[in-house]
Amino acid sequence: MSEDAAQPVRARGLVKRYDEVLAVDHIDLNVHSGDVYGFLGPNGAGKTTTLRMALGLITPSEGTVELFGRDPMRYGARALEGVAGFVEAPRFYPYLTARKNLELLAALDGGGAAERIEEVLAVVELSPRAKHKVGGYSHGMRQRLGIAAALLRQPRLLILDEPATGLDPAGMRDMRALIRRLADEGITVLLSSHQLPEVQELCDRVAIVESGRVVYEGALADLRRQGGAGYRLRTTDDPRALSLMRTQAGIEHAIGGEHRLSFQAQEQDVGQLSLTLAAHGIGILALSPELATLEDLFFRLTEGDRGDGDGAGGPAADTEAVASDAARASSPATASSSNGTSEQAVEV
């Protein structure tokens, strides 16, 4: 496979141990060209460690990671051709101005990077502050400068670790818009984030990690479809309706909340339920399908048996079922590597 046709990121059996601590436990990742790939997990799940290994900053204890077919451990800086981004907060020389920092980084990039400095400063709207020392910059300005520094490299793959952290709501919105537009330009984005709405808005594929292991990898749409095809219902007599639902074939996880009922069912069973309710003189005030939010699924996958299971998306599906169903529905490339994924999901 030519290097350009190779996957932007391909990790196999990635492990990182720090003495007795297993920070990353046999992680497989498949970021395809054009993906906006969300890398999700709670604090300490191993996301940043994985990204550091991908960028060649730390050596894997086991396994390999390739960027466009090149392992940074073997190819060094050549593996980072066409790759840019930052892990944790982007860091700069506080005693240099923003422009000097970019000049330095452009010099270390070679090629025509220096000619793009003014343009990237304009993209992140730092041109008016380019003469100021970075030491006086706010967190948000540094994040934007981090994006500018990444864009200098004209990346085909952008690796961003929590790019919206510390930004105000307007800054977050603008950061998302920028990432969306960069993705539209054809840049593959690997986005590590705690911001679930951000991932839900931007990403088409995700990997969810928990305690150093991937508990789900695949299309976000598949995860949502498999994880939470539920319904919400309001009737003229909710207690009686709930009793009927619990005896109705095909209706699962029926629970009653304040002024609402929720359940999971196939479409034809929902039709049958409406007839049953009508036959018992119960009027339907509202009946709406609802996909589980990413937040629901995230907590089910990462907290599993610890979660209360009564999220807004309806009754908690069994974590094992969510992960394995979603894994089955994910892309062929994922399925080829999903042995580990689905096995891992069982253990959540």
């Binding site: 980072l80 981004g85 860091r91 000097k100 010099a107 270390l108 090629g111 793009r116 085909r156």
Partner: protein, 293 residues
């Protein structure tokens, strides 16, 4: 970021299958020097090496004692301004100049670790080996500049106070002022040999400890430890092999005929200290994880 400015311009769009020209190690080195020039601490050491000769000359001008001096250059202090840089090298070579060199060498990797900027530069198009070479060269360049500044200030201050006159060397031979000037700078150049070894130790500790204070203090601590070992009775046999003993090897140049033996001895011995330190630092830097920041 307004939405109007969010659209990445064409030049920022991904370059498909682009083969960028990789930067040379010289480019990285040039930027290491620019970073050094932008930091206050760089000037603190140079300031110290500027101030000390000036204080010395002012003090000697006001309070010079015409007593017997053990050192022939001390005896000539008011007779020729060219005795001053020799005395200053004698005075500063054991501690002050090594400290100044250690301040930069010991800080050059660990400072970037502390700031988190190491990951910034290591995710560009330069290899770790290039970064190490550039930083090592920058630290050695700083050592050269430190010695040059100290020698130049001492020479200018001495000549301004006591004239550009001939001077007697350790052998008692009178040498002309131009020749003495040449010898002064040759002696300083010879002093760079052990100083480079000190810088190499600082570089290794900086790469290994990732902590500026530990690396700088560690380097100075090693120098002090070697001085102490040299004073311990019964260990005279190992004295010629101590790095600190090489700090005075340059004096061989101020004899007639020139005594090259201590300089040659210093060269190979300092290589024994410096080369393994540099190699160890290189291997540590090449293999270590860049975490934190």
């Amino acid at each position: 970021m307004s939405s109007a400015a969010l659209s990445p311009p064409a030049a920022v769009a991904p370059a498909r299958a682009q083969r960028s020209r990789r930067p040379s190690t010289f480019t990285v080195y040039r930027w290491e020097l620019r970073k050094l020039l932008a930091q206050v601490r760089t000037y603190l050491g140079l300031g110290l090496l500027t101030v000390l000769p000036v204080i010395f000359v002012v003090f000697e001008s006001l309070h010079h004692q015409h007593d017997q001096h053990d050192n022939i250059f001390a005896a000539q202090i008011t007779q020729s301004g060219l005795a001053t840089p020799v005395l200053m090298l004698l005075f500063m070579s054991g501690f002050f100049i090594p400290v100044v060199a250690a301040l930069v060498a010991g800080d050059i990797f660990s400072n970037e670790d502390g700031n988190g900027t190491l990951k910034t530069i290591l995710t560009r198009s330069v290899d770790r080996g290039q970064v190490f070479a550039a930083k090592a060269l920058a630290a050695l360049t700083y050592a050269v500049v430190a010695v040059l500044v100290a020698a130049t200030v001492a020479t200018v201050a001495g000549v301004a106070s006591w004239g550009f006159r001939s001077v007697r060397t350790y052998s008692g031979t009178l040498v002309s002022a131009p020749e003495a000037l040449l010898l002064v700078f040759a002696a300083n150049a010879a002093y760079l040999i052990p100083l480079f070894a000190v810088a190499a130790i600082g570089l290794m500790l900086s790469a290994a400890t990732r902590n500026s204070a530990a690396a700088v203090v560690g380097t100075i601590g090693i120098v002090i430890l070697l001085f102490i070992i040299a004073q311990i009775p019964g260990l005279e046999a190992i004295q010629p092999y101590l790095l600190t003993e090489q700090f005075q090897a340059w004096q061989g140049l101020l004899r007639t005929p020139t005594n090259w033996a201590p300089i040659a001895h210093s060269a190979w011995l300092c290589a024994l200290y410096g080369v393994p330190s540099l190699l160890a630092g290189y291997l540590i830097f090449l293999r270590r994880d860049v975490a934190g920041g």
